[in-house]
Amino acid sequence: MSKKTTVKPAAKKAPKNAPVAKAKAPAKAATKSAAKTSKKATPKKFDFGGLSEELLLSMHDLMVKSRVLEERVIKIYKAGEGYFWIGGPGEEAFGVPLGLLARKGKGLEYDWFHLHYRCTPTMVALGMPMIEAVRLMMNRATDPSTGGRNFAGHYCFPQWNVAPVTSPIEVQYPIACGTAHAQKRAGHKSISIVTGGDAGTAEGEFATCLVWSSRKGQELPVLITVQNNGFGISTPYEGQHGETYIADRAKAFNIRSRVIDGTNPVETYIALQEEMDYIRKTGKPSFLEVKTTRLYGHSSADGANRKTDLFDPVYKFQEKLIAAGILTEKAAQKIWEIYEEEGIKAQEQARGEAGPAAETVWDHVFVNNENADWRKF
């Protein structure tokens, strides 16, 4: 293919007035082993909740990676190299801690993920290479999630218990009760995690999840989260809901619940850790309403353009780390550049890969490619 990738002129910079601390190497892609509290405490005047510098840097690193990836994918869409974009810029401060804290693996001993279409940050934190999101966006046969069959953000990674993302809103909530039921029976203290949007909680399946996860004596280990970005496509929260907090609905089912600031990775990390511990210990559900932002609007359906007036959790966290002397401006810039380059390379590689062949429409209707074509019965 002859199309040229648009190279971003320069990585975005941290604000000019931010104090410059001593240079640090970009954090390595985070691993789950990142410590909770550090040997090296952060300066008192900055509140990082006692999280270690190593963890803070790795969260920053993954948040940047996720943002750069999303922006790359939007560029691919805008260049006409993909059909539809939907994703999670603005949700990094929630999605990254979630991916870091979960027990990742295949089978009932590990946590299950029932994600919606804004969970690229979680996938990046779990360790998904950029190329896999790009292949999904560009509908390549090599796309590991759907083989070129579905939209951006519709991940499926059975090797990490990541259930297929579905387009119908909110069905993932009660499906999570099914995996949680099997997990609880197996007795491994693993949990099922479900994410979704605020408008979608008007769907019946959301209520189903509250009902099934909270039956007395038969509670299920589900972490129920709602990312409240204040909108369902164009309809504001007030036009969708009467309740002040969605989290209040969980209380009616005796589900422990709270509202957190999902633009603050430290707050979400600590809250997620507490709730996951609670679920593992009690086998009962917990509910988090997470306030987030939707930095590029709903999807390509409304243009996928940057909303400059909205709070940006990635830059704000970066500024804070620089101000605290944990990160330098130079090191931060380097991180953006490294991932920008990885994104461009991923796009170029995916461009050279084939799309799915037409005749593969009949593949995987039934297990083992059993004949599904009635013309051949």
Partner: protein, 351 residues
């Protein structure tokens, strides 16, 4: 002989004992009732759910995603309609994930008229089901097939919809299920929950054997030369009875019990039509748009030059519901005389 309900119960018992079924669930499926049609009495893994059909289907999907086997029940097919989106997703999950995520789940639900169940206990679902790609759909007409198709459904790695006729639930067949005691009373005393003083009751299951009716394989229930009648479930019995009656007059009717809606046994249909040159498709789902229409279409495509008469579809009338009064129900879904009339017409037709 076991009834269809007892046969299903025995199949589920076999499934939980030998085939890894870990959950059998639905509204009133567990103790104390064991299902409104008694099909789940005495089962070890049967449990009651909230009154929430979407919850039942999504729960089954979640369980199946982990690889655990389950059989979920929707109390009446009349209430499965509010799960259609989930059924669609269950059917497309393997395909959407490019073969990565299997959903080895069984959903069973009682269908159809014949019990004067009125507007919301007489719905059919076979035509709707046939439009859910990715599902296999079976519809037994007798206890032995009910047993064999349930084991096949449990064994199958795909989602399988098991549609059981409400009117056939008490129907007894003329073939024993392998391992079933010969005496009906003995069977009853072993596996039917006593109506009174049932507290602490436990089923005493016979030593059942594995018996599979392969999904996609039909069965000729009445051999004939003059016309082929393709049907399934409750209508098999009506068609067989009409075939017996007409045989006395020298009209030789071949009745095919399809047993599976999808995949379906086209080879059996085709070779029978090639032999008889005439065909009638009978079922009780509404006529617009009906699964029999698909089969009639295919017949014109592949058997056109073997046909001596127009293929016909005899189905339920295209009505919003089935009225309670027998006059209404009987004028809504095919009856003996409708089948008989249609057969006579087709046989009388000369090209």
């Amino acid at each position: 002989m076991a009834s269809v309900a007892q046969a299903i119960r025995m199949a589920l018992h076999y499934g939980e004992k030998h085939m890894g079924v870990k959950d059998i669930f639905g509204q009133d499926v567990g103790a104390p009732l064991g299902g409104v049609f008694t099909a789940t009495q005495g089962l070890k893994t049967a449990w009651n759910t909230p009154l929430d059909e979407r919850g039942i289907i999504s729960m089954a999907m979640g369980i199946a995603m982990t690889g655990d086997k389950c059989v979920a029940e929707i109390q009446f097919a009349d209430y499965i309609f509010n799960t259609i989106d989930l059924l669609k997703i269950a059917g497309n999950t393997l395909w959407c994930t490019n073969g990565q995520v299997q959903l080895p789940m069984v959903v069973m639900t009682p269908v159809g008229a014949g019990i004067f169940g009125s507007v919301y206990h007489s719905h059919s679902f076979d035509a709707w089901a046939s439009r859910l790609p990715g599902w296999k759909i079976v519809m037994p007409s007798n206890p032995l097939d009910a047993y064999g198709l349930m084991l096949a459904a449990i064994e199958d790695p795909n989602p399988v919809l098991y549609l059981k006729s409400k009117a056939l639930m008490r129907h007894k067949g003329d073939e024993l299920i392998p391992g079933e005691p010969e005496d009906e009373k003995t069977l009853k005393s072993m596996i039917d929950k006593p109506v009174q003083n049932s507290q602490g009751w436990k089923a005493k299951w016979p030593e059942l054997e594995k018996y599979i009716v392969p999904i996609g394989k039909g069965k000729i229930t009445h051999e004939g030369e003059h016309i082929t009648v393709v049907t399934y479930s409750r209508m098999v019995h009506l068609c067989d009875e009409v075939a017996k009656k007409l045989a006395d007059e020298g009209i030789s009717v071949e009745v095919i019990d399809l047993r599976s809606i999808y995949p379906y046994d086209w080879q059996m249909i085709k070779s029978s039509i090639e032999k008889t040159g005439r065909v009638l498709f009978v079922n009780e789902d509404t006529e617009v748009t009906n699964f029999g229409e698909h089969l009639a279409y295919r017949t014109t495509q592949e058997c056109f030059y073997s046909l001596m008469a127009r293929p016909r579809v005899l189905a339920g009338k295209n009505l919003p519901g089935i009225g309670l009064h027998p006059n209404l129900e009987k004028n809504s879904v095919p009856q003996h005389h409708d089948i008989e009339t249609a057969i006579r017409e087709i046989v009388a037709e000369v090209p």
